[in-house]
Subunit: 116 residues, 2 copies
């Protein structure tokens, strides 16, 4: 997946962190479906995700507005995934909604853009 090429701030981020249970139980297929579906949503700007060998993962999705985040949270298929996550896939998780104020690095495809 790699780095997301997000626009100049401000925009919004959802930081989703989770510990997976052992076993797949349909998780990988749903995770792929959710990435593909999120990319089609209005206001979606990008996503960055990593999960380590212990099953702990951090996924950050970027959005134009809080309204776009709220709409995605309410999407019917995403609601199914959220419910299955709670019941079947995650030992625990946290979601944090943030306003991105500054950036740096190669975030905009330009090394050294921004200055946090």
């Amino acid at each position: 997946m790699g780095l997301a090429k997000t626009p100049a701030p401000p925009y919004y981020a959802v930081i989703f962190t989770s510990s997976r249970n052992d076993g797949d139980y349909g998780y990988e297929a749903m995770a792929k479906e959710m990435v593909a579906l999120a990319e089609q949503q209005p206001g979606f700007l990008g996503m960055e995700s990593a999960r380590d060998g212990s099953g702990f993962g951090v996924t950050v999705s970027y959005w134009e507005s809080e309204e776009a985040i709220a709409a995605w949270k309410q999407h019917g298929r995403h609601r199914v995934a959220q419910q299955r996550g709670i019941q079947e896939w995650y030992q625990n998780f946290a979601a944090r909604v943030c306003k991105v104020e500054r950036d740096s690095g190669s975030v905009r495809g330009v090394w050294g853009a921004g200055s946090p």
Copy 2:
């Protein structure tokens, strides 16, 4: 490392995403040192981190204030690590400074706290 038990929002987050080069070159030792050092800084609230098998990683550190983030960025040993990251360890990276506005999940040690 697992989930960070952060306080009720608002507070701040630095989302740091990076792709590692092949080979260690002192990276793992420095990464451990930076985690231990960050935990000692004023205003540090917690950290969540995962790196996958391809070398892509997402690390989020949480802070009480933008001032705490700025101070940590300027810390002498951290500046050494940043410079070595650019020169030796990362193919590319991005850092984003955010204000956390809402949370949910087991983020505060209580399942279902918050409501993003």
